[in-house]
């Protein structure tokens, strides 16, 4: 069973919450769900939509054709009906106006009436819905439950979707980063609001007292990272979060972290740029920025998780590595990973944790081992060599951390990193002869493993959510291999399996 459900409406009308709740209900029944969020940069009005892909088998991406359209406004029908499959279902909130009047509740209850109606169509037991609503809304659930029941009564049972397995975990990439940081031993999170990194700020801020951590929003990103390094000096394990523009402001202090040898984890959630770009949409255009940000030469860790489970593990690893090697670590994500909802049978953490300590001296100047300023040639060369040794030892260490992963069988190879993983994995069954090399560590770069796989392949295709395919340049830099075949997407939308299959077959 596979269904794509689109839920759309004006910003503020609850399409994200409705989509999440429908996803949760399916997860309760043991289905696998992927939730894609598409919303412009505005607070009220406009057009937001979510696409939920539901299946009895694992799914990691959304589709482009819809089995169901849930329209919270008329515009949703107009914009998306062309993508409705033949015989698909359209449910409009306006159908339930009379019921809403009867309930005399807020307009947003229409969404809940709609949920009741939809799941009646699917033949799901009402108790499952009411249980999910209660879990989600707690004390405010009574009115919503009533609305769901009203909608349920109006629906007509067309299918019989039974429970297919134990309840699954439904989690976004940003939530994965957040709990990964807690599992690693986070003490302090500092961030200035910026989409799409802000959900981590909100998640951790809400949970700061129960986890005995500190979450603070300073005056700007420059303050964010410099405060973080001050706290790191005093022994705290600190993470900052931002997106491209904010990271641009931080770069001077990324270099400071490299020179002063202070641990820091930077969560860089990419969005479509340059400049302000397309703030609420996705891209992978900052790979080389992450790899090169900061003046001077120093070791760095750049790791790109491919899904929320990996976000947990890789964030823990970033903390572990930055504390052990005392050089900055960047967890490179994007809007698609951060804000999409994924389903897992279980959520695992890494056994790695981080520990740090206060230091007596830290300095932005070139310095000797006592931390005093030096300008003589011999001391400078010695200090540079000591710091650059980290690149080699880090390289050995990341080889133990699955820096690359291979999926599927075939003589041809798809090469990619980060959030494209989901669409690629879901496309693989349709791409016979292709397997997939996911590169998770971008710095240090696992060049031997990458070169080996690309050389073995009959044909290697790079997939990246960018206009240039920066990963190909990184591969060329480290291995000398030039990848000419590139499937790129740079319209601010994430890959879907349909898009990928079409483009790869066209090559």
């Amino acid at each position: 069973m596979v269904k794509n459900i689109l839920i759309g409406g004006k910003a503020g009308s609850g399409s994200a919450v409705t989509s999440y709740l429908i996803g949760k209900i399916f997860c309760t029944l043991g289905y696998y769900v992927f939730n894609y969020r598409d919303y412009p940069s505005l607070i009220r009005g406009g057009h937001n939509f979510n696409v939920l892909k539901v299946s009895d088998k694992p799914v990691y991406s959304h589709g482009e054709k819809y089995d169901v359209i849930l329209a919270l406004d008329k515009k949703t029908v107009d914009l998306h009906k062309a993508d409705l499959i033949k015989g698909g279902l359209v449910v409009e909130a306006s159908q339930f106006r009379q019921v809403l009047d009867k309930l005399s509740g807020p307009k947003i209850l229409e969404n809940d009436i709609m949920i009741g109606y939809l799941f009646k169509t699917f033949g799901v037991d009402i108790e499952v819905l009411l249980g999910a609503v209660e879990k989600q809304f707690g004390k405010n659930a009574e009115m919503i439950k009533k609305a769901v029941e009203e909608g349920y009564a109006m629906g007509e049972k067309k299918e019989n979707l039974a429970k297919v397995g134990p309840p699954r975990y439904f989690i976004s990439g940003n939530e994965g980063i957040s709990i990964g940081s807690l599992a690693a031993g986070l003490d302090i999170h500092l961030a200035y609001p910026m989409t799409p990194a802000s959900p981590v700020l909100h998640f951790l801020a809400k949970k700061q007292l129960e986890n005995n951590i500190l979450v603070f929003q300073p005056e700007n990103e420059i303050a964010v990272i410099n405060m973080a390094l001050g706290s790191s000096f005093a022994g705290a394990k600190t993470m900052v979060g931002t997106s491209g523009g904010g990271f641009a402001l931080m770069t001077e202090a990324v270099s400071l972290a490299g020179m002063a040898e202070l641990p820091i984890v930077i969560y860089l959630a990419q969005r479509t740029a340059p400049s302000t770009g397309v703030p609420t949409y996705t891209a992978q255009g900052d790979l080389k920025f992450a790899l090169n940000a900061g003046h001077g030469e120093f070791a760095r860790i750049v790791v790109a998780p491919g899904d929320p489970q990996e976000a947990i593990i890789r964030t823990q690893e970033a903390f572990y590595l930055t504390c052990k090697y005392r050089t900055p670590a960047i967890v490179l994500g994007d809007k698609h990973l951060g804000e999409s909802g994924y389903t897992f049978d279980a959520l695992e953490k890494s056994p790695l944790t981080a520990s740090s300590y206060p230091v007596k001296r830290a300095t932005s100047y070139e310095h000797n081992e006592a931390g005093h300023t030096v300008e003589d040639a011999a001391s400078i060369a010695e200090s540079q060599e000591r710091r650059m040794k980290k690149v080699e030892s880090l390289g050995k260490e990341i080889n133990k951390l699955n820096p690359v992963a291979l999926y599927g069988e075939g003589e041809n190879l798809i090469v990619s990193h980060g959030s494209t993983k989901g669409a690629i994995i879901d496309a693989l069954p349709e791409l016979s002869g292709f397997r997939f090399l996911q590169i998770s560590y971008l710095s240090p770069f696992p060049k031997e493993k990458v070169a080996e796989e690309i050389k073995k392949a009959k044909r290697a295709v790079l997939v990246e959510n960018s206009a240039t395919g920066a990963l190909a340049d990184v591969i060329a830099e480290h291995t000398g291999i030039i990848m000419k075949d590139r499937v790129l997407r740079y319209d601010a939308r994430p890959f879907t399996p349909e898009f990928l299959i079409k483009k790869i077959k066209q090559l």
Partner: protein
């Protein structure tokens, strides 16, 4: 503890006769007399002032230009039990780092900020800063600075700083007492230290003639503002230059409002209850 114990073996590279020697001396004496050496961290920016990092035997962070305050604030977040003292230059604090200055006056973390205000960028060979007087000419501004300088005392008062003072580098005993008061103050304590640069901005004769020590009710904000406006950081005519504490008032320090900010984080042994952490996703 003797002030000598706070010295290091590093060669001091300030110009011979530089007024920064006086600030160093006053600070070493203040720390020695307060007996806070063990617990004190100094943070410096970049510029002549910042060389103090190498000359004081305390826990120290040699930061980057303009970022003394966020680094100092971060050290305080990282270990609220530390006594954190920032040293900045006037270019450092009032040009590159202005946003941090205003916000730290507002945050009121228990920090001390000493600004070596020589009204010029000296280590980069004498360019104008935001506190250079109108008409000041230099390599970058040969036609002369067109604007009036920022008055950091007025700014700090208006931005909400609870302890605002002005010191004079050449008066070490007075400066030492100001430093002690500032360090003892529970909250953000700011001291603008007039530190004439003998190479690029030698205003010692003017200051020697016009400086006086204030004696007013320092809890009176209105008087503090009037005193702050007595001198506009310019030298075109003789004006009285008040030194001492302009204003001192008590309000809760930043750390006191965060229940989790009590102890150094590195002493916490953490172990996550994983099942509890992932429960909400199931």
């Amino acid at each position: 503890m003797k002030p000598e114990e706070l010295k290091t073996k590093e060669v001091i590279t300030w110009c011979p006769g530089c007024s920064n020697f006086k600030i160093l001396q006053a600070f070493q004496e203040a720390v020695a007399e307060l007996g806070v050496a063990k617990n004190t961290v100094i943070v410096s920016g970049i510029g002549c002032h910042a060389k103090i990092y190498d000359y004081v035997n305390l826990k120290s962070f040699y930061g980057i230009h303009g970022r003394v305050l966020p680094i100092a604030f971060g050290v305080k977040l990282g270990d609220p039990t530390l006594n954190v003292v920032g040293f900045g230059g006037d270019g450092d604090t009032y040009a590159e780092g202005m946003e941090h200055f205003v916000h730290n006056c507002r945050y009121n973390a228990d920090l001390t900020m000493f600004v070596h205000n020589n009204q010029v960028f000296s280590l980069t060979t004498g360019q104008a800063t935001p506190t250079s007087e109108k008409g000041f000419k230099d390599g970058s501004t040969p036609l002369g600075v067109a604007e009036k300088p920022i008055n950091p005392i007025v700014l700090a008062l208006e931005a909400g700083a609870g302890f605002v003072a002005r010191g004079y580098a050449m008066d070490v005993p007075h400066l030492k007492e100001l430093m002690k008061k500032a360090i003892n103050y529970r909250g953000f304590a700011f001291v603008d230290i007039l530190q004439p640069c003998i190479i690029y901005h030698n205003v010692i004769p003017y200051l020697q003639k016009n400086i006086y020590k204030m004696s007013h009710d320092t809890s009176d904000f209105k008087t503090a503002l009037e005193k702050a406006r007595e001198w506009d950081y310019c030298y075109d005519k003789d004006q009285k230059v008040p030194t001492g504490v302009f204003y001192e008032s008590e309000r809760p320090a930043f750390e006191s409002q965060w229940p989790q900010l009590k102890n150094p984080w590195h002493k916490i042994k953490r172990e996550i209850n994983w099942q509890n952490a992932i429960k909400e996703f199931n």
